[in-house]
């Protein structure tokens, strides 16, 4: 069984955050506000269990990383948070996910509304073949935004650190940008729906190192206003960029489960589980 965050956090040992981020933020346990709670979550595709018994708390205004070898269900788990798995007809979830205390998978919950509040950025940038402006405005428009669109677009692009590069060519096609710019465009359009949470599914794996660094820097800034959950293959990235890391792996029954969760620095330098130690030191994965 994967230990939940609440159980492992021993108040005596680590009351303060370890390895403060460059922005100088220190947060106490009391300051951590849990926005997403996964309680005993298991994911099924038909009769195949892809993820089992996950308990995970995700705190607001932090970056939580999910790491682990490929195929262990990290993406599946990530997608439960914005109900993207619903697009697969045979998908089924057991357990409960709470968003701000409200259950996400309650019968009357509308996935469309969930997805407005929980944004997602994908592995391969997927801008629409529309203008940059229309890309950013798309989410806002479908959700009935009635404010000043120009302002919203500019603001979203600024927050995605893309404004200066595209402000003179907003009418150009979003697909004419470079890979890194396209990904920032995707982040901008996700931000435009004013989500609380941004999910990122290996957002840098299709980008070159320079673009990757830009995205990581962007994530630091975004953290001030948004909660970020990122799935990444790249351990160094998780170590650099995240506050909390959850390590998942695949069990003998081919179901993924969370081995260990903890503050990033601690997980990488002094993990509790042997399996975690093996993974972060490169012995498998």
């Amino acid at each position: 069984m994967s230990p939940s965050v609440a159980e492992t956090r021993d108040p005596q040992i680590a009351p303060l955050r370890i390895a403060p981020r460059e922005s100088g933020e220190h947060r106490t346990e009391a300051q951590r506000d849990i926005v997403i709670k996964l309680e005993d979550v298991s994911c099924y595709y038909g009769s195949f269990r892809a993820v089992r018994n996950v308990d995970l708390d995700i705190a607001g205004r932090e970056i939580t990383a999910l790491i682990g070898p490929s195929g262990c269900g990290k993406s599946t788990l990530l997608r439960t948070i914005n109900r993207m798995n619903d697009l697969v007809p045979v998908f089924r979830l057991e357990g409960q996910i709470l968003l701000d205390g409200q259950p996400l998978y309650a019968p009357r919950v509308d996935p469309v509304e969930v997805r407005r509040r929980v944004g997602m950025v994908f592995q391969k940038p997927n801008p629409f073949p529309k203008s940059i402006y229309d890309n950013v405005a798309f989410g806002a428009r479908v959700n009935g935004y009635r404010g000043n669109m120009n302002e919203l677009v500019e603001q979203s692009l600024r927050r995605a650190a893309l404004w200066d590069e595209v402000k003179d060519k907003l009418r150009q096609s979003g697909m004419s940008l470079s890979g890194g710019q396209q990904q920032r465009l995707c982040i901008a359009r996700a931000i435009a729906t004013e989500p609380e949470i941004i999910l990122m599914d290996e957002p840098c794996s299709a980008l070159d190192p320079r673009a990757t660094l830009q995205i990581e820097e962007l994530m630091f800034n975004l953290k001030r206003d948004y909660t970020i959950v990122i799935v990444t293959h790249n351990m160094q990235q998780a170590a650099r960029a995240s506050d909390v890391t959850a390590f998942m792996t695949m069990g003998a029954d081919r179901a993924g489960y969370v081995v260990e969760v903890g503050p990033t620095a601690q997980l990488f330098t002094n993990p509790r589980e042997q399996l975690t130690e093996d993974y972060v030191s490169g012995r498998f994965g």
Binding site: V109, D110, V112, E113, R117, N143, G147, E194, E196, D225
Partner: protein, 311 residues
């Protein structure tokens, strides 16, 4: 520093939201559009059956299906469909004899040998041929194929309206069909199969003949069956080229009448709509529809089984 934008504040809005009625309405409308297809099929079957049954009240179906004399306008009226079916088959067979070698050779070339440049020339040519209105092909048969190609060959033995010219132009019509479907079938054969043969020292032609072609055979067969169905359903080209003489004859130099030509003949004539001749139109159409439908279904089955093998 997050801007508070009025309606969209993420704050504690409930997660439930009604699916707007317009979404449901749109889905219903789209479904109705898709249902037009089913309605059409059912409609065609019903119309043909109903009217044909009306015909069969006066003419026995057995006599209809097995009779060898078709005389719809001249007394004594006889409605044996065999001459029409044979006429249709005659032309279809000749068309296939023309189209299969040309189509397959073209397909092999396009799939195995052609460079990008040649493809960009050959494919448009094939598509143009496929796009020629069939009445133009009939005109071509009447004005060129018969007088300039066939008459010099056969002299006065061949009539102005003859099966051979109809078969040739219909063959031209269906060649692109065989070519493009067979090309697809050849391309669907996995590279690994070919590379294995090359690695053993086979020449390019041998790889095509002994590996690619046999592997693509079901796709090729399916294309031929589809082409045959198309040839049998062809109307205007055969009307102009083969005329409307419903004699039971296997001589390609003669004029015959196909099922489709008969349907045209009756509807352009002065035949009153409740006469037995007019009703025979529907019975003939029913037979034509059944044959082409059966061929199409067989072709689909073969394609489905073929696709499963390589997916």
């Amino acid at each position: 520093m997050r801007t508070v934008s009025n309606e969209m504040t993420a704050a504690r809005r409930p997660l439930t939201r009604r699916v707007p009625a317009s979404e449901r309405l749109i889905e219903v409308l789209l479904f109705l559009a898709a249902a037009v297809g089913v309605v059409t099929t059912i409609g065609i079957v019903l119309v043909l059956l109903a009217q044909a049954l009306d015909f069969f009240r006066e003419v026995s179906p057995i006599a209809f299906l097995t009779g060898t004399v078709w005389s719809a306008s001249i007394e004594p009226l006889q409605f044996g469909i065999i001459p029409l079916v044979v006429g249709t088959l005659d032309i279809a067979v000749i068309a296939l004899v023309v189209a299969i070698p040309f189509g397959l050779l073209a397909a092999v070339y396009l799939a195995e040998y052609a460079s990008m440049r040649t493809r960009n020339v050959v494919k448009p040519v094939l598509e143009t041929i496929a796009g020629i209105p069939t009445i133009v092909l009939g005109f071509f048969a009447l004005n060129f194929v018969t007088p300039r190609l066939l008459k010099p060959l056969f002299g006065s033995d061949i009539g102005t309206f003859n099966v051979l010219s109809a078969g040739i132009v219909v063959g031209l019509l269906i060649t692109p069909l065989i070519a493009s479907l067979s090309e697809d079938a050849l391309r669907a054969v996995p590279r690994g199969l070919r590379e294995g043969a090359f690695a053993m020292g086979a020449t390019k032609w041998e790889v095509v003949r002994k590996v690619a072609f046999p592997a693509a055979l079901s796709g090729i067969m399916a294309s031929i069956i589809l082409a045959m169905s198309r040839a049998m359903g062809e109307t205007m080209a055969v009307v102009l080229a083969a005329g409307m003489n419903p004699q039971l004859s296997l001589d390609p130099r003669q004029s015959v009448e196909t099922m489709t030509a008969f349907i045209v003949q009756i509807s352009t004539g002065d035949t009153p709509q409740n006469s037995i001749q007019f009703k025979s139109l529907f019975a003939v159409a029913l037979v034509l529809f059944s044959i082409t439908l059966m061929l199409n279904l067989i072709s689909n089955r073969i394609v489905a089984r073929f696709r499963n093998r390589y997916s």
